[in-house]
């Protein structure tokens, strides 16, 4: 099992040492993160109070108060992200990780963000969803000059409305987002807000996808549709931290989508309401309960629920290929193929050949076979009842009684009360096969489509 330490985030955040202190003398120290684990929520040490979020497999950056202005320092730079245990990807990110650190501020805060470019090309940052002066919106060429490599630019504006936002480059955006440049921005409400409930747990993450050839390390930035790595915050199951809640906690989950397709995010055992988008909190009258919220490309959804059902509940994207690790998309379906007499022949030329897919791909979850280096299985992750047969955009929502209010640690597998788990039927088998209802018409194997007539005479009486 992989290490999941929640409270090491602050310790793991280390000052970057490679930047000249003279050059940076007037700048806030950029804080860097070396770990891809979920960091503890950062309780605000100064400024207006708020209830901090927990960034799944991410962290919140500290800030410096300077004459009443919250100062942050983001460093755009190449990073190596551990996307799954043993699977490392060359990415571009901020302050040591991709996605970059979450920025948490409070409605009305004046914010100054220093952005240092350590990439080999220009960059900018666009503050997705913010109300701000036009010159601070971060579209290179349109609102500002691009930030050249080695330069530091400053953005300054007021966080005017509460909500869930993102930041990402708007300079060679296609490449930079394909390389993982993105981060979350949370503006907490100042005091009580009629549409924003108090919650006990507040989780946030971004959806992103990469195309990394098995055995390679760098995403293919020109890919448009055929991605093979589907992630929450650039992590793939089973490496994604579970969302943990104490029973009856009110839980908010904020999801932003910076991949190139939509993701129906689905929770088991509970229903939720969408309480906010990147446009702000939704009016109460517009909220309806559901168990899947589609998060379209470039959108954010903020959902809330009462964690009243104890257990380990699946929480995932409902596009089934998105809950898979790397896999070939051109592999033909092998289900139902009789391999008798062939495996031995193939083994004559490929001695390590093993039969796969004859009964489906579920076996893959249990098989242990050598793979290309720096990749991870299509489906991995074991549960208390065996292989979970999932990978990619999948994690679990763990609801427990008697959990500490600030305890975000993985509580282990749920122990269901006796008699509440599905079980094998032990009674008599069915006496006879029920008559199968078949559609009228053709026998199996007969051609079912008639060739279109091209005869001119045929067309005459039309």
């Amino acid at each position: 099992m992989q290490r999941r330490t929640f409270f090491t985030g602050a310790a793991a955040a280390v000052a970057a040492t490679s930047v000249s202190r003279v050059a940076m003398a007037a700048l806030p120290e950029p804080i860097s993160q070396a770990s891809a684990d979920t960091a503890a929520p950062l309780l605000p040490p100064n400024g207006r109070p708020y209830h901090p979020v927990v960034t799944l497999n991410g962290w919140t950056t500290p800030w410096r108060m300077n004459a009443g202005v919250k100062e942050f320092h983001l460093v755009a730079e190449p990073v190596v992200r551990e996307v799954a245990p043993g699977f490392f990807v060359n990415m571009w990110g901020y302050n040591g990780q991709s996605p970059g650190p979450t920025i948490e501020v409070v409605e009305g805060d004046r914010v100054r963000i220093f952005v240092t470019n350590r990439l080999p090309e220009n960059t900018t940052i666009h503050w997705h969803g913010q109300r701000l002066p036009n010159g601070m919106d971060g579209v290179g060429g349109l609102n500002q000059p691009h930030i050249p490599p080695g330069k530091t630019y400053v953005y300054e504006f007021q966080a005017r409305r509460p909500g869930t936002f993102m930041y990402h480059p708007h300079s060679d955006e296609m490449v930079q987002m394909a390389m993982g440049m993105m981060g979350l921005w949370i503006t907490h409400p100042k005091g009580k807000h009629p549409l924003i409930a108090d919650v006990q747990r507040d989780y946030a993450f971004l959806l992103s996808a990469y195309d990394v050839e098995p055995g390679a390390m760098t995403p293919r930035v020109n890919e448009m549709t055929d991605f093979n790595i589907w992630t929450f915050n650039s992590r793939a199951f089973p490496a994604i931290t579970p969302l943990v809640a104490r029973q009856n906690d009110r839980v908010r989950i904020r999801v932003g989508n910076l991949s190139m397709t939509n993701h129906p995010i689905h929770i088991h055992g509970h229903e939720f309401e969408v309480t906010g988008t990147d446009g702000g909190p939704t009016p109460k009258g517009s909220r309806w309960p559901e168990v899947t919220a589609d998060v379209a490309v470039g959108q954010m959804r903020q959902v809330e629920l009462i964690a009243d059902e104890p257990g380990d509940w699946a929480f995932h994207c409902h596009k089934s290929h998105h809950t898979m690790g790397a896999m070939g998309h051109d592999v033909p379906t092998m289900i139902g193929i009789d391999h008798s007499g062939l495996v031995g022949k193939i083994q004559k030329i490929v001695p390590d050949y093993m039969l796969m897919g004859e009964r489906g791909m579920g076996d893959m979850g249990a098989m242990q076979m050598p793979l290309p280096e720096n990749t991870f299985p299509m489906m991995a992750g074991k549960g208390p009842f065996g292989a979970i047969e999932m990978g990619g955009m999948f994690t679990s929502f763990k609801v427990r009684q008697n959990l500490g209010a600030h305890d975000y640690r993985d509580p282990g597998w749920y122990q269901p009360p006796k008699g509440t788990t599905a079980y094998e039927w032990q009674g008599a088998p069915l006496a006879s096969q029920a008559p199968r209802q078949t559609a009228p018409g053709k026998a199996p194997g007969a051609p079912s489509v008639r060739k279109p007539h091209t005869d001119a005479a045929d067309h005459a009486h039309h």
Binding site: G328, P332, H339, K345, I349, V350, Y353, M369, P372, T375
Partner: protein, 480 residues
């Protein structure tokens, strides 16, 4: 009396010497096989001998060949068998024997002529006895014996080259046959794999997982593999047949076994250096030696040419004529000798001398030309040998490990369900093809080695072939 005899003997000694020489010129009993053997010494596998046509030797040789054929025939044994058993080589050796017999015949002195005459007239009866013979052939016998000896040596050297070429041909054929057999095994494996892929595709189509088109694509791979197998099989049979022909084998003996693989490449340190190649060729090559002998003969003949042309027909005769007077019965005996000397009035031997001079020039030029070719062949065959080694070594130490790596990676990708069984099989075929290509490179090195040995120590191996492998570039099939 004794002193007279001695004096007479002394006076007659050149004549006697010539007679002795002429008597000694006899046909070599082994048809010059041992003379040829001296030249091939060290240039053939140990204990390789030429066929002896005597029935007992022939039977022994057949026994020996049968024993060699009990186990897989290695290259040296193939050469030994070929030397013992090849009718073509035997024919060449017989021709050499014929040449030897002709030499002996040429050195035998013409028999003296005894002329008897009986003449009668009115008062006397005359009986003439004349013993005559060509003087020049007697006087020049020592030189002619020497020239004929040189010519025979030249013929023996030529025959030795034929033997070495036959041995080299056999060795080449052996290398080709073993390599072709190895390629055949690879082709068989590739075909089996393609057939398994084709069958799997058929079953895929049967349950509806493949379209007919997808099935046809895999079927085409199977058909290509089958055609490749047929061609490879034919090639292996032809190469083997060529070897059997050179070894003089037929019938049940032609079913000999060959080793499963070519000999491994030598270590780089064991390779022959190229620095002394030219010197070695000039020193060792038999074709150069033969031409040198030719030049010797021509040069010496050149000196005699004019004299021979003028005095070629000097004849000597001794006569004893008896005239008997009929009335008195008185015998009158006349003894004496005659010399026939042609007078150089018309032919002063200029044409003969000119022809001899031109012949000498031709011989010298031929020697120079062959020496030039020998030097060039030494260099070019050494370069080919060295390059063939580097190529074969590259195949063995770089290309094959790379192919194996790609094969392993394909298995890993198959394990991760990144590629299909058919893509995996295509990679495996590419790997098998790489093995076949490496085998060809290994064969080419050994072929180049055979040619280099010939070029350095024996004779011209013929045109220098370039290094080329027939292997098609192996590509991995990508997707469907």
């Amino acid at each position: 009396m004794a002193s007279t005899l001695t004096r007479t003997t002394t006076r007659l000694s050149p004549l006697l010497a010539a007679l002795v020489l002429a008597g000694c010129a006899s046909v070599a009993p082994d048809g010059l096989r041992s003379a040829v053997g001296e030249h091939t010494e060290g240039r053939l596998p140990s204990q390789a001998t030429l066929a002896d046509p005597s029935p007992t030797a022939r039977a022994q040789a057949q026994q020996q060949i049968a024993a060699w054929l009990q186990q897989p025939v290695d290259a040296d044994n193939a050469v030994r068998i070929a030397l013992l058993n090849s009718p073509a080589l035997e024919a060449q050796m017989a021709a050499l024997g014929m040449q030897d017999a002709q030499r002996v015949q040429a050195l035998t002195l013409p028999n003296p002529t005894l002329t008897l005459g009986r003449f009668v007239n009115g008062h006397e009866r005359e009986i003439e006895r004349q013993l005559s013979f060509g003087l020049v052939s007697l006087i020049t016998l020592p030189w002619r014996a020497r020239w004929q000896g040189w010519q025979m040596e030249q013929a023996t050297l030529t025959a030795a080259q034929q033997v070495l070429l036959h041995a080299a041909d056999t060795r080449r054929a052996w290398l080709r046959a073993v390599a072709a057999q190895q390629s055949l095994q690879t082709a068989q494996t590739m075909h089996e794999a393609a057939a398994a892929g084709g069958e799997l595709a058929r079953r895929m189509a049967r349950v509806g997982n493949f379209s007919k088109l997808e099935q046809a694509q895999e079927l085409r791979v199977q058909q290509e593999a089958a055609a490749h197998l047929a061609r490879t099989r034919l090639n292996a049979a032809l190469e083997r047949e060529q070897l059997a022909r050179l070894m003089g084998l037929w019938g049940p003996q032609a079913g000999f076994a060959l080793p499963a693989a070519l000999p491994p490449l030598p270590q780089a340190e064991a390779l022959r250096g190229g620095e002394d190649a030219e010197a070695t060729a000039l020193r060792e090559r038999l074709d150069l030696r033969a031409l040198r002998r030719d030049l010797d003969t021509t040069a010496e003949r050149h000196g005699f040419a004019r004299v021979g042309a003028i005095f070629g027909d000097i004849g000597a005769s001794y006569s004893r004529n008896t005239a008997t007077e009929r009335g008195t019965r008185h015998d009158d005996v006349t003894r004496g000798w005659e010399l026939d000397i042609p007078l150089p009035i018309f032919d002063w031997g200029g044409a003969a001398s000119g022809a001899a001079r031109a012949n000498l020039q031709r011989s010298a030029a031929q020697l120079r030309d062959t020496a030039l070719r020998a030097r060039s062949e030494a260099r070019s065959h050494w370069q080919r040998y060295r390059t063939a080694y580097d190529l074969a070594q590259q195949q063995r130490s770089e290309v094959l490990p790379l192919a194996q790596f790609m094969q392993d990676e394909a298995v890993y990708r198959y394990n991760g369900m990144f590629i299909s069984t058919w893509q995996l099989l295509a990679q495996a075929r590419a790997t098998a093809q790489a093995v076949a290509t490496a085998t060809e490179a290994q064969r080419d090195f050994w072929l180049a080695e055979v040619d280099l040995q010939l070029a350095l120590t024996s004779t011209s191996p013929g045109a220098t072939p370039t290094l080329a492998t027939s292997a098609a570039p192996a590509t991995t099939e990508q997707g469907h």
